[in-house]
């Protein structure tokens, strides 16, 4: 007999969400100049969590001025002093990590298991790592005394709200830049809590400014003539628009965009480990991951065995309350994203791919999508080409390593890929040929602040993380 799971919810009482939040400019919370606000909801329940000020062009100008005003002093601080501010931030994040994990789960819809065990530890680690660089920039391989760029305009997505903030702010501050950051419209809260962390850390006013808003806020920030550096993580379409927008200017940009990662399973791969890797690859964070392994390439001879095992495993995934500690898949981040996933999955079916999902009961309110597999997929299918950004896996097959590489590279993207095989030389040969910025061999979706991350081709340019991540914020 199967045992039922008892609910094991994480307590919400650890986080205190105010009914409303302002923009964070020059060290203070303030209303938008035009008084606009928007609501942020919990995607798991559609409950309104808070009302947040919505920054317009005038607010962008105010924030950029504040960042510019703070730049001279901040960049002139000895690196060791900047480092200590960042170490303080890292420590305060560790102290408040449970609160932030619950907050992120509420605002984003992702399982508490992930915010608690992945997002938050990585956020703190990222600040800790770049803190240490602040007084060692002369030794980073970019020549003596590399200079910061100035004011960085940073636009981040909703899939890892606080982690993406850390990826942007930590290297920017370590190198002596000041920042104006726009969190995504569906997940503004953790960035606003971060503003409070800056207060606790005693960070000088204007060094970090947070502007919640929609795409128009981001566009105004990118366009502002006193911004020296753009860092964007999001869709390839918006990334291209930014590249056009800043053409002919002196603005430096890093773009971390979409992906359609291939996860290649060879016939000698240990099936159980491969299945776990496939699950991590596409169902981590509900598949709302730019580097997701959304295309499974399985060697034909082991297809049946692998798919049987994968389906069995998917049937054990627990979809539901993100605050429940046993939950594997939480809610889709927004109604809009859910609609996009549905449209693309429907296209997969309409084009003749075979759709399968385990039996699972989805909650009545909120935005939910069951883990989904498509088989009989060809390279021409929409579900094999377009980034779905949801818990949808397309399965393709191959016979030879040559064919696997050709299919893996047959995409406009080039962010991530996976390889599963026991044969070391094959791992290295295939890894060599894959046109992707991150290759996970016999593992998937691993991240670390020391490890550079970023794409080839239309997955963007520049690297975040590691020594490489400093270059994006230095005048080198």
């Amino acid at each position: 007999m199967a045992f039922e799971y008892a609910p094991a919810p994480e307590s919400r009482s650890v986080v205190d969400i105010a009914p409303s939040y302002g923009l964070f400019i020059d060290g203070e919370f303030t209303d938008a100049a035009d008084g606009k606000v928007f609501k942020t909801v919990s995607p798991a329940t559609e409950e309104v969590l808070s009302e947040v000020a919505r920054a317009g062009a005038e607010d962008v100008d105010r924030a950029v001025k504040a960042a510019r005003g703070a730049f001279a002093k901040w960049s002139a601080l000895p690196g060791a002093e900047r480092a200590k501010y960042l170490f303080r931030i890292a420590r305060i994040i560790q102290e408040r990590s449970r609160e932030l994990a619950v907050l992120e789960t509420l605002d984003n819809g992702k399982p508490i298991r992930e915010t608690r065990d992945a997002d938050l530890p990585l956020v703190a680690a990222h600040f800790f790592y770049y803190a240490g660089w602040a007084d060692k920039l002369d030794h980073a391989g970019y020549g003596a005394n590399p200079r910061p760029l100035g004011v960085a305009g940073q636009v981040i997505p909703w899939n890892f709200p606080l982690l993406m903030l850390a990826w942007k702010i930590a290297p920017a501050l370590a190198t002596g830049n000041t920042v104006v950051l726009k969190p995504a419209e569906t997940t503004p809260l953790s960035a606003l809590f971060f503003a409070d962390i800056c207060r606790q850390a005693g960070l000088p006013r204007g060094v970090v400014n947070i502007l919640p808003g929609y795409g128009d806020t981001g566009a105004a920030l990118v366009e502002h003539e006193d911004v020296d550096k753009i860092a964007f993580t999001g869709s390839t379409a918006v990334g291209k628009a930014i590249a056009r927008q800043i053409a002919g200017t002196g603005k430096k940009a890093t773009l971390e965009l979409g992906g359609k990662g291939a996860n290649i399973v060879f016939d000698d791969a240990p099936v159980d480990q491969a299945v776990e890797g496939i699950v991590t690859g596409i169902f981590f964070n509900q598949g709302q991951v730019c580097c997701a392994g959304s295309r499974l390439l399985v060697q034909e001879s082991v297809q049946d065995e692998l798919l049987d095992s994968l389906k069995r495993r998917l049937s054990t995934l627990r979809v539901g309350d993100p605050l429940d500690k046993n939950t594997d898949l939480g809610a889709i981040n927004s109604a809009e994203q859910l609609a996009r996933i549905r449209t693309l999955a429907d296209a997969g079916e309409a084009e003749g791919a075979e759709r399968w999902s385990p039996e699972c009961e989805l909650p009545a309110s909120g935005y939910w999508f069951a883990p989904t597999l498509f088989t009989n997929v060809t390279q021409a299918h929409t579900v094999a080409r377009d980034e779905i950004f949801g818990p949808v896996l397309s399965v393709l097959t191959f016979r030879t390593p040559e064919e696997a590489v050709a299919k893996a590279n047959n995409t406009q993207y080039g962010l991530s890929a996976g390889i599963w095989t026991e044969k070391g030389s094959r791992i290295l040969a295939v890894a060599n040929r894959l046109r992707a910025g991150v290759v996970w061999a016999n593992t998937f979706n691993k991240f670390d602040p020391t490890s550079p991350f970023g794409g080839y081709k239309e997955s963007g340019y520049g690297r975040e993380g590691g020594r490489h991540g400093l270059e994006a914020y230095l005048d080198v």
């Binding site: 680690a125 020549g143 291209k240 053409a247 991150v438 061999a441 016999n442 670390d448 550079p452 239309e458």
Partner: protein, 296 residues
């Protein structure tokens, strides 16, 4: 018959595409003159079609060139320098005529150019160690970052520095394993076209460097918007053209090097080497050897 009475043999300058020397498919040529407007040669005026052919050739050559060992690329590039050295007289005459400088100054420019090529030849098997390396991740993983070439790169060569400038922008692109489509200086294309002849006799596989002469704006537009070009160095474009090209290049997110003045006689640094490199990071579990058993 004394030398001064001997009628010299002119050279027909041709494009260099895919290891061959075609005339422009358009059949067009344009007059190249020295700084005093005296006729030097008729250079091929390449067309959009020539540009597309050059991209195909560069793409075809990319697998072999990027897959060659760094040592081998260094050997081939050094061979190019040897061939350049043997043609110093010819390049000196071309540079002097093109740039309107004295023979002795032109000779110094040519020497610097050959030395520049040697410098880049030595970089092929060092840049990977300088820019890549192991990353100390917080977990039981082997984690290695390696630079890899971006792919097919369009290079708009400097308009004024027809040889030293040309080599300073082309050599770093191919040293790192990219293949190149080079648009020569519009006014002074002859050193670039002659460089093609050197490359053809230097063990450099056909298609690794392709040289086009003609109108920079006409050739650059289809190259900047070409979906199979991965990067573009806009050095030879003026401000207005560079902006248009950068907008077109955004369509497939080409890596763009914006034009900015460079003192080609100074130490070039590694900037042009890293501009067209991607960083690939590979992870693998390290596991343990103890009773815990499995590596992953």
């Amino acid at each position: 018959m004394s030398e001064s009475e001997r009628l010299s043999v002119f050279k027909t300058y041709k494009l260099y595409v895919g290891g061959k020397f075609p005339r422009s498919e358009s059949g067009r040529v344009y007059e190249v003159t020295d700084q005093k407007d005296r006729w030097l040669a008729n250079a091929p005026q390449a067309s959009r079609k020539d540009a597309r052919d050059a991209v195909s050739a560069a793409r075809k050559a990319f697998g072999g060139w990027s897959g060659a060992t760094a040592y081998n690329r260094g050997q081939v590039l050094y061979r190019v320098a040897e061939m350049l050295e043997g043609r110093r007289g010819q390049f000196t005459a071309e540079v002097a005529a093109s740039e309107g400088i004295s023979k002795s100054r032109a000779a110094a420019v040519v020497d610097a150019t050959v030395d520049r090529w040697v410098w880049y030849a030595g970089w092929t098997d060092k840049i990977g160690q300088v820019t890549g390396g192991a990353n100390p991740v917080a977990g039981p993983f082997f984690n290695l970052s390696t630079p890899e070439p971006t792919g097919v790169v369009t290079v708009l060569a400097p308009q004024d520095s027809s040889f030293l400038g040309l080599v300073s922008v082309v050599a770093p692109v191919i040293a790192t394993g990219n293949t190149a489509v080079v648009v020569a200086s519009e006014r002074s294309p002859l050193p670039a076209l002659s460089l093609g002849e050197v490359l053809a006799t230097s063990d450099l596989p056909g298609g690794v460097v392709n040289v086009l002469s003609g109108r920079t704006a006409e050739l650059a537009a289809p190259l900047a918007s070409h979906q199979d070009v991965n990067g573009i160095d806009l050095y030879g474009a003026d401000e207005t053209l560079a902006k248009e090209l950068e907008i077109a290049a955004a369509d497939n997110l080409k890596r763009v090097v914006r034009p900015h003045p460079v003192d080609f006689s100074a130490d070039p640094g590694t900037g042009r080497l890293t501009a067209f490199l991607e960083t690939k990071t590979v992870w693998h579990p390290t596991g343990g050897l103890g009773a815990s058993g499995s590596g992953y």
